[in-house]
């Protein structure tokens, strides 16, 4: 059946009514998709005559921003003093830590961290940490780095205590867990920027905002890992504890907790990373003399050398903290306990004390002498200037090609994007007819091969590409999303999705939502295609894997800000830069999960396929890829989540959409605007998450395999 016959059939619907109805009931997907495409075209053509169905009417918008602002004002009036007091209290530990790190001689601080690295994982990490700290000093960012570190050092223990508490509660009480888990989901899907706003309003400017935000952002992984770890304790160990006569309290502290220790330390690692990234992000509110602010302010002044150097500090901090905490989580305490020789804790303490005393005599060990500072930023700026000028034509060409041939068509549709100026021809009627024929041909080919759903999907995609996402009638775009939720996750998900989209429409942020979907969508598609390819390649070749691994590991630990810098340097601000930054970050899970999925297939299946005579090619396409699909879909899910996370940050370099909206809200202190956009972002994230998760879960059930978040 070709799409032409489909059209004629639906036109002659009344004649062959019952037969068609039965066909639709048997396999509704192709018909629904096709109907959606037709409806879209009709609405598009009707345009002005069906205004309300194309562009959501302003009259129907009930913006919640005013109400939210009123609420917030009322709330602040009511509780202001309480929060002020809390903020005042919280400020002390941060101030104390900052004072301490500033007062300690740099040599002592360095030795402390080098010792920790040594104990955590050995001399390599110790050397890395030593070089990182020296870099901070040489480049002249020591005080700023220490200020950021101080907030992290205070927020991590707080987040751990809070997370541990909730984790234990969730472990013992099923009811508590049912409240805690969705709360965590929400905290982790609402963009980090959006947190800052209410905190800013409640606590006022100051370091407290960064601290509170980072605790809020960093405690969920601790909760998850605590619950996970406690639940994973083998029942026999618990029973052995009971039979040894443990009281309930002893059972927890002496049996469950030690047995769950490693998982919890992994939670500490994740908490630390989250805390650092939030501390950096919080710099956006300004007024703090920390390294995040250094990056931001220099970036705004287009001082890319400085911002890159400072960004590098953040990256080093992140990697060092990650490896140290991870090292402690994985450390073989047993081997360490048995190791002969000098106790590293004592040795470190001794060295620190020695240097402390020495620095009283030798000032250079206490304050890094100005003469030792070497900051190559000006030279870098000059070099960059030369580079950009030299390669201008190339840079422009890449940027323009991507913009005019990829981004613009998806954004505003071929109908408007095609112009003689860029494409060399105009969207005249014959060209449109040719485009229609091409889409029909593709769809017909798919239909002939019996893949009706694919055929209808091609028609729908062709329609969307022609009209452009931003010009899509809201009614059909929303319908498409709800239908996707329906087919993947069932009725509840469809209802939830409809409710979420309705909120976005009524709140009046639909245009921004579509812009966000557009930018994130393009990035996700590219990440998925490119990432899967790289992942497949890495799974086939150990060399490629050895090259790719450290790169994606680094990208993943990198605070989001920093990823922006190189792209802004070369491509300046704009949507294309944002796109590249999102891709650079969100491609990580696509690669990781594909490789992981392909490498961890049940070996008996692979062996069986090999013995029946699969060629390596057949093995990959017929056996491995289909079986790795659950993992790959989970990777897609993570890619989307990562993409949305980066989207907000990318708003800094000029995008329009919800991210920008949050940023504006933050800038103006407009709680309503920022919060509405933040909630909107969370809605998109949750919908995308649930849909892709359902697909992955269904595949997992089909194959009887499990894919886990890694």
């Amino acid at each position: 059946m070709t799409s032409e016959t489909l059209t004629s059939e639906s036109a002659a619907g009344t004649a062959s009514g019952p037969a068609l109805l039965r066909a639709i009931q048997a396999q509704p997907a192709p018909f629904v998709l096709f109907a959606l495409a037709v409806a879209t075209i009709v609405l598009y053509l009707l345009g002005p005559h069906a205004e309300a169905l194309v562009k959501f009417p302003d009259a129907w918008v009930l913006s919640p921003t005013a109400v939210m602002n009123d609420f917030m004002r009322w709330f602040v009036d009511l509780t202001g003093p309480v929060f002020q007091a809390i903020g005042w209290l919280l400020e002390w530990p941060v101030k104390g830590a900052q004072w301490l790190l500033a007062a300690l001689p740099w040599s002592v601080t360095t030795i402390v961290f080098v010792t920790l690295a040594w104990i955590a994982s050995g001399w390599r990490l110790a050397a890395f940490v030593l070089l990182s700290m020296l870099y901070m000093a040489v480049i002249g960012y020591w005080p700023e780095s220490m200020n950021s570190l101080a907030i992290v050092l205070i927020s991590v223990p707080m987040a751990i205590v809070v997370g541990f508490g909730f984790g234990v509660l969730g472990f013992y009480s099923e009811r508590a867990r049912r409240v805690i888990m969705p709360m965590l989901d929400l905290l982790q899907t609402i963009p980090a920027f959006a947190y800052l706003l209410p905190i800013l309003i409640l606590f006022g400017f100051g370091t407290t905002v960064g601290l509170v935000a980072s605790v809020l952002y960093a405690f969920p992984p601790m909760v998850r890992n605590t619950i996970l770890g406690l639940r994973a304790v083998p029942p026999e160990i618990v029973e052995a504890g009971e039979m040894s006569g443990a009281t309930p309290r002893q059972l927890f502290w002496k049996v469950r907790l030690p047995a769950a220790q490693n998982q919890m330390l992994l939670g500490v690692n994740q908490t630390t990373m989250a805390s650092l990234s939030m501390v950096i992000i919080a710099a956006i509110i300004g007024g703090t003399n920390d390294i995040g602010w250094e990056v931001l302010s220099t970036m705004r002044k287009a001082l890319f050398g400085e911002s890159l150097l400072a960004g590098f500090v953040i990256a080093l901090l992140a990697m060092a903290l990650d490896r140290i905490t991870y090292g402690f989580a994985k450390r073989d305490r047993f081997a360490a306990a048995q190791a002969a020789g000098l106790n590293p804790w004592l040795a470190g303490l001794g060295a620190a004390a020695a240097f402390g005393l020495l620095s009283l005599v030798v000032p250079a060990l206490s304050d890094w002498p100005a003469a030792w500072v070497y900051n190559p930023a000006p030279d870098m700026n000059a070099a960059l200037e030369v580079f950009v000028v030299e390669w201008r034509t190339w840079i422009e060409a890449i940027k323009n090609a991507a913009f005019f041939f990829l981004m613009l068509p998806i954004k505003i549709g071929l109908a408007k994007a095609v112009s003689p100026f860029t494409w060399g021809f105009e969207m005249t009627t014959p060209v449109i007819a040719g485009y229609g024929a091409l889409v029909a041909l593709l769809a017909g080919w798919a239909a002939l091969r019996g893949r009706l759903t694919l055929a209808a999907g091609i028609v729908l995609a062709g329609t969307i590409l022609f009209i452009g996402l931003t010009a899509m009638p809201w009614l059909t775009l929303a319908a498409i999303i709800v239908y996707a939720a329906w087919t993947t996750g069932g009725r509840m998900l469809a209802l939830g999705t409809a409710a979420g989209l309705a909120f976005l429409l009524v709140a009046g942020v639909w245009p921004q939502t579509v812009l966000s979907i557009y930018l994130c969508g393009v990035a996700v598609i590219i990440c998925f295609v490119l990432g899967t390819l790289i992942g497949v390649w890495a799974a086939q070749s150990n060399t490629v894997s050895a090259i790719v691994r450290p790169i994606i590991d680094t990208l993943q630990t990198m605070p989001l800000f920093v990823i922006l810098i190189p792209f802004v340097m070369v491509f300046k601000i704009g949507e294309f830069t944002a796109l590249l930054a999102i891709i650079a970050y969100a491609i990580v899970p696509a690669i990781r999960y594909t490789e992981h999925g392909l490498r961890n297939l049940p070996s008996d299946v692979i062996e069986a396929a090999t013995t029946v005579g699969c060629t390596p090619r057949q093995l990959l396409f017929r056996v491995k890829l289909p079986l790795a699909l659950p993992a790959i879909m989970l990777g897609l899910n993570q890619t989307i989540i990562y993409g949305i996370g980066m989207l907000v940050i990318a708003a800094l370099v000029g995008t329009n959409g919800l991210g920008q909206q949050i940023y504006i809200g933050l800038g103006d202190g407009d709680f309503g605007v920022g919060m509405t956009a933040g909630i909107g972002m969370a809605i998109i994230a949750i919908i995308a998450d649930r849909i892709t998760q359902s697909v992955s879960r269904r595949k997992q059930e089909e194959y009887g395999l499990t894919a886990t978040v890694i």
Binding site: E239, A240, G241, M243, S244, Q250, A259
Partner: protein
Amino acid sequence: MPVAPDAEVKLSCRNVWKVYGNRPEQFFTGHDGNLGSDAQAKAHAQEIRDSGHIVAAANVSFDVHVGEIFVIMGLSGSGKSTVVRCLSRLVDATAGEVILDGQNLLAANKRELIEFRRHKMGMVFQNFGLMPHLNVIDNVAFPLELQGVPLKKRREQAQEVISLVGLEGREGSFPRQLSGGQQQRVGIARSLAVKPELWFLDEPFSALDPLIRRQMQDEFLRLQRELHKSIVFITHDFLEALRIADRMAIMRAGEVVQIGRPVDLILNPADDYVREFTNDVPWEMVLTAGDIADGTRGFAPGMGHISADTSVATLLPYLADHDAGVMVRGADGEDIGAVNARDVIKALASGVDNPALVTD
């Protein structure tokens, strides 16, 4: 070392039921699991099963005497672990009584239960259940630590049991650095650290390979000769049960099918289920001279003397050369009866299912 049948009862398990499901208590209103006859209990169990509940233990009753090794045997899922968990109250029985030294364990409150476990019970687990974060000596001393015994003292006590199970020199090792057999020695040492009177072992050797398993069984018997604990030992391996049991219970689908000495089970299996287990048993290893002695025949010239617990297998070479046979002597030194080659053949023949058809 068989235990005299009139030895004092240490632990008594009376009409114990364990039912998993929505509302298991509903089946035990108005009675405490004691339904009078076995037939009624069986019917009740079936009723419960029909209602969609899982009957993990049904009307289980047995006594364990002081110094006795009582083995519970059965296929996987037959409810062995459930029973021993009810005895130790790791799970709470749905109905029934467990009486330890005259006290009903099921009525004990949390505090009393902890005291029971701290001083009277030890338990060994199939997968060892060692604390991964503690080394051998601290694992063994763990129960003492929970009781608040000071470090030096508890290490000393732990050291004693470690020597007992032959792990000297490995005190500083961590569980994952030990082989399965060694880990189970730690598990055994830990369960003995508090000098319990009652010792539960839930398939302690099932995770070990056959050679090590055998070695551990020998060690276990040696320990028991020294310690004289009252033991409930679980296994799904009939041969293991034969080697160590004084008496044993066979379980199926939560119910006890038969209780008795291993020989009784072999010679008089209660039903086909029990016979299935006994089929593959090498009878000459199980039967003792005392089991087949013919009390009607007295001492005759040419007979040697042999003690009643000599296995038939070890007697074969002698009987092959001496037609007169031997006189069997009981533990008290009295003659029990005579055994000759023919008696042995007869006894072994009764275990043959399908005798060959001999043509003339």
